[in-house]
């Protein structure tokens, strides 16, 4: 794997071509073997990737071009990009896109900032550090279904914990808020669940990255008189920059793919006000049996997430990596 053509060329300067030939042939044979071995190692992973990612995407694209008949053996009508045109003229598709974008815009920065803050605190020497790490990570391993239903009860208009606190206990609000009955309050409630559930994940990744920052660098900065904030900003943060990029990209993908919490807390209602792209896609496919339109929505979502990921990769690229 480490062999390349350049050392073979430089190391054999001065020999005749006929003397070089058997050695070169031997190298190229070994190189071919290495390449074959590499592909063989890659094959199982790629086969799995093709099976669970590439094939469904290709199939979804194919279905999206048809008025798809779900019963096997029934002919489907080819309508070209008709389902895509339908989506572009569907106000609820656009509302779903805005709602998905809102969820992503609220939850991603919150999870990064809070997760990083907790990671910094837990990176310091403190008593019961392991206990706190476990506690902050606990929401990540709980079931989405369970916590979504739990949050639905927390946000109930009459008798919910949030309204009890805001209205009955602290009198911040003059009346009980119908959290899940209006678009933006419902989206806020769903976003709060997203942040609460996801912050432990970003925390654990940031914590691992922070623990990998060389201690000597921090000590050198301290010797130079840098205070804690300056050490974090000038030493730790640049050191964990690739991890911040990794977390951001994955969170953006996850944010746009929000489904379970919306489906269980509001079911996209009332009146489709809280539909996100995936709940709208689900409704089209499984309630209205319009799999062609549902596939078009999911394929468009894939393109959006793909484009966003490329933009982020470029944004997070170090200046030295830029071509």
């Amino acid at each position: 794997m480490t062999l390349s053509s350049s050392p073979s060329q430089t190391g054999l300067i001065g020999r005749s071509a006929s003397a070089l030939r058997p050695i070169t042939r031997s190298f190229s044979r070994r190189r071919r073997k290495d390449v074959i071995a590499a592909y063989l190692f890659l094959a199982p992973g790629f086969a799995l990737f093709a099976l669970v990612i590439l094939y469904p995407i290709t199939r979804a694209f194919q279905i999206s071009l048809y008025h798809w008949a779900i019963a096997p053996g029934t002919p489907s009508e080819f309508i070209g990009f008709g389902n895509y045109s339908k989506a572009l003229h569907d106000p609820i598709f656009w509302r779903g896109l805005v709602n998905s974008g809102f969820y992503m815009a609220v939850t991603v920065p919150a999870q990064i900032v809070i997760g990083l803050a907790i990671a910094v605190l837990l990176d310091a020497h403190m008593p019961a550090r392991t206990l706190f790490r476990t506690l902050f990570y606990l929401p990540v391993v709980t079931s989405w279904v369970v916590v979504s239903l739990l949050f639905r009860y927390l946000f109930i208009t009459d008798g919910g914990l949030f309204n009890w606190f805001l209205h009955d206990a602290t009198h911040v609000t003059g009346h009980n808020i119908d959290w899940l009955g209006q678009r933006w309050t419902a989206m806020v409630a769903i976003s709060i669940l997203g942040v609460w559930k996801g912050v432990g994940w970003s925390m654990i990744i940031f914590l691992a990255a922070l623990q990998g920052v060389p201690r000597e660098l921090k000590e050198a900065a301290a010797v130079d008189g840098a205070k804690a904030w300056a050490r974090f900003r000038a030493v730790s943060l640049p050191a964990i920059r690739p991890v911040v990029a990794f977390v951001t990209i994955l969170l953006v993908m996850g944010g746009f793919n929000v489904f379970i919490s919306v489906y269980l807390m509001t079911q996209g209602g009332p009146q489709n006000e809280t539909q996100v792209l995936l709940t709208w896609m689900y409704l089209q496919a499984f309630s209205f049996l319009d799999f062609g339109y549902g596939s078009a929505i999911s394929f468009m979502l894939t393109l959006i997430v793909f484009a966003l990921s490329i933009v982020q990769l470029r944004l997070f690229r170090r200046p030295s990596e830029a071509v």
Binding site: A69, I70, A71, P72, T74, R152, F155, I156, T157, D158, G159, G160, D178, W179, L180, G181, Q182, A186, M265, T266, Q267, G269, P270, Q271, N272, L283, A285, F286, S287, F288, L289, F291
Partner: protein, 414 residues
């Protein structure tokens, strides 16, 4: 050492061979069993699943040796998705207890067996059931199932909450409903709570006001759903809501106090619901039922219920047909009636009241109940109700405007 190992190996091989041979002989000697799979959404909150698993199926298997029934209870909200997935994957069960509103959709997909063609005794079986529930199995010239249970919605109320509201009895007319709702509100209670704006929720009010959803051939909604009488039915609900006499759960938001919780907690007096409500809440609340308050069109409710349908892909159609017949047998229907399932057999109506007194009001109401539009596009039509009607309740549009828009959209779907 090597010899003794070989001996042990030989003995072990012999034991395995003899055991396998005798087991095989036992299997080939036993009678071949046929397993049929039955998907249903019987409620596990009440006694339905227990009655099916512990009483009905064991009795069937006892009287039909060689047939095993695999019961697959699925929550109602998931059953439609499971059916759709089953259709797409070609993995449907032998029998399904389908909501009556799904039968045209499944029949239209071509996955159901037309029972009037494949059951030689279909005529005899169908003659024993009520014609209304039987009609829900009809699609494009064929019957694709048989009714299994029927139901409708009646005005169910907590007698304790009614007294707390300062009322002597349930409202009998639209006018009484408006007046009583104000009386109850003055005592801090909601007289009537409704959990959404689908047709199941609001069609009884449209029909009771004298309105209709479509023409009689189910091909046009304009001129019917947005006619003056239909508008009057919805207007009454909008007036109640805007006057603060109904809780906001009617808008379909999930954050409000549900009807069952509200009635259990004594905050709501009444709701419209099926007979299962008595089976589920009867132990904790003193419930009574009556017919829906009457408007200009009388007291008209909505028909609900389930049909038993056989899939085309079933490999055990004879056994599935036997179980279908068994489920329509008076004994099985009687057993399920005890678990809150209203029978579809004409011969059992008198016995129903003896099983549970509350059935009397359902029998009275179902005589004046109408089905929802039988069409494969029903889920989309119901979505139109839930999208357009809230605009009238929120004051964004008048009732007339909201129903005009709904009718136009439903026309396109029909």
């Amino acid at each position: 050492m090597r010899l003794s190992r070989m001996l042990v190996l030989l003995v072990l091989t012999a034991i395995v061979a003899v055991t396998a041979a005798t087991a095989g002989a036992r299997v080939s000697g036993a009678k071949k069993t046929t397993t049929i799979t039955f998907w249903n959404a019987y409620s596990s909150d009440g006694p339905e699943v227990k009655r099916l698993d512990k009483v009905i199926i064991p009795q069937f298997e006892k009287t039909h040796p060689g047939i095993v029934v695999k019961d697959v209870p699925v929550p109602y909200d998931s059953l439609h998705q499971k059916l759709v997935t089953g259709v797409a994957g070609g993995q449907l069960p032998d029998l399904v207890r389908s909501d009556i509103i799904w039968v045209p959709e499944l029949a239209n997909l071509g996955v159901l067996e037309p029972l009037d063609k494949s059951l030689p005794d279909f005529k005899a079986l169908s003659s024993t059931v009520f014609p209304g529930p039987l009609a829900t199995n009809f699609w494009k010239g064929h019957y694709y199932g048989l009714p299994l249970d029927t139901n409708t919605r009646t005005w169910n109320y907590s007698t304790t909450a009614l007294a707390s509201a300062g009322l002597s009895g349930p409202p009998k007319t639209f006018a009484e409903l408006k007046a009583d709702a104000a009386t109850a509100k003055a005592k801090g209670l909601y007289l009537y709570a409704e959990s959404g704006l689908s047709c199941w929720n609001v069609c009884p009010w449209i029909w009771s006001a004298g309105g209709s959803i479509t023409n009689s051939t189910y091909t046009k909604a304009s001129g019917f759903l947005n006619g003056p009488k239909s508008v009057a039915g919805i207007q009454m609900l909008v007036d109640l809501y805007k006057a603060g006499l109904m809780p906001n759960i009617i808008l379909g938001g999930t954050g409000g106090l549900g009807t069952y919780d509200g009635i259990t907690q004594g905050k709501y007096v009444s709701t419209l619901d099926g007979p299962w409500m008595f089976a589920i809440l009867g132990g904790s609340v003193k419930l009574a039922g009556t017919t829906i308050p009457a408007g200009a069109g009388g007291s008209v409710s909505v028909v609900g219920g389930e049909d038993i349908v056989m899939t085309k892909s079933s490999k055990n159609k004879a056994a599935a047909a036997e179980f279908t017949r068994f489920m329509l047998h008076p004994w099985a229907q009687n057993q399920m009636a005890r678990a809150g399932q209203m029978t579809v057999l004409k011969s059992l109506t008198k016995q129903l009241v003896k099983i549970h007194p509350y059935y009397s009001i359902y029998l009275k109401q179902i005589a004046n109940a109408r089905p929802r539009t039988p069409t494969p596009k029903w889920p989309q039509i119901d979505q139109v109700f839930q999208t357009e009607l809230p605009k009238a309740f929120k004051g964004d549009e008048t009732v007339q405007q909201a129903l005009d828009s709904a009718a136009k959209q439903i026309d396109a779907l029909l």
